[in-house]
């Protein structure tokens, strides 16, 4: 059996790098922070899909806690939301907050529904 610490660590490495590359590719496309929204939605969907379909310590540590925990991020969401407010872009602030909540919690529901089909 592989150590949970090793699995979380390797998962965390992969998740952070994937997030960095994907958000880096998306960040110049819009002044609305679409990159963070994208990784948070994808990560929330897959977390629900694996949690509701696979009962394994390997998946729990490597994928759920390590990879998907690190792939998605809250701190950047907080910072980007605050910057929209600070710049007076109140409408974009609300769009950012509401789309993150709806798509990510909706993504969990979608993952749950698909897991039930498997």
């Amino acid at each position: 059996m592989i150590s949970p610490i090793l699995l979380v660590g390797i998962g965390g490495f992969i998740g952070a790098v994937l997030r960095y590359i994907l958000t880096g590719m998306l960040i110049h496309k819009s002044f609305f922070p679409i990159g963070t929204l994208f990784v948070n939605f994808i990560g929330s969907f897959f977390l629900a899909l694996t949690t509701f379909s696979i009962d394994s310590d390997f998946v729990l540590h490597f994928i759920n806690i390590g990879l998907l925990g690190s792939f998605t991020t809250y701190s950047t969401f907080s910072y980007e939301s605050f910057k929209l407010l600070e710049n007076g872009q109140v409408r974009y602030f609300w769009i950012n907050v509401i789309t993150n909540l709806l798509l990510c919690i909706g993504g969990v529901f979608l993952g749950y529904m698909i897991a039930n089909l498997l």
Partner: protein, 128 residues
């Protein structure tokens, strides 16, 4: 600004990610649930706020910013577990769900605002 194909940056992000994921894992081993996810996300947001305001005023090494900001704090905090636990509580109690969401959004903003205030106080004190 984002040198996301630079191998050195990628390595810093990755190793920061290892540290962030392990610290979060250690904390979640002690206690996992709505409160612990909230605490870790808000502390991580505050620290990112400090880092980014320091960066904005030109005090931070770019590799350090990537290592700590994107790697460590990005991985320490998590949106997927927040969304997952919010969904679970939504299926049990709409009232607790609503309070939880409102507190999370409120403190997301307050944490960065507080970080900005603290940073401005420190830099005015001339110790930076």
């Amino acid at each position: 600004m984002f040198h996301h194909t630079d191998i050195k940056n990628i390595a810093y992000v990755g190793f920061g990610g290892v540290l962030g994921a392990l610290l979060r894992y250690g904390f979640f081993e002690l206690t996992y649930g709505l409160v612990s996810i909230f605490i870790i996300n808000i502390i991580g947001s505050f620290l990112l706020g400090i880092l980014m305001y320091s960066t904005e005023f030109g005090y931070v090494n770019p590799y350090f910013r990537v290592f700590v900001g994107i790697g460590f704090l990005g991985s320490l905090t998590t949106f997927s577990h927040f969304a997952f636990q919010s969904y679970i509580v939504f299926t049990h109690s709409l009232a607790i769900f609503t309070i939880y969401i409102v507190l999370n959004i409120l403190f997301a903003i307050l944490s960065i605002h507080f970080a900005k205030t603290v940073f401005l106080l420190i830099s005015k004190g001339g110790s930076v």
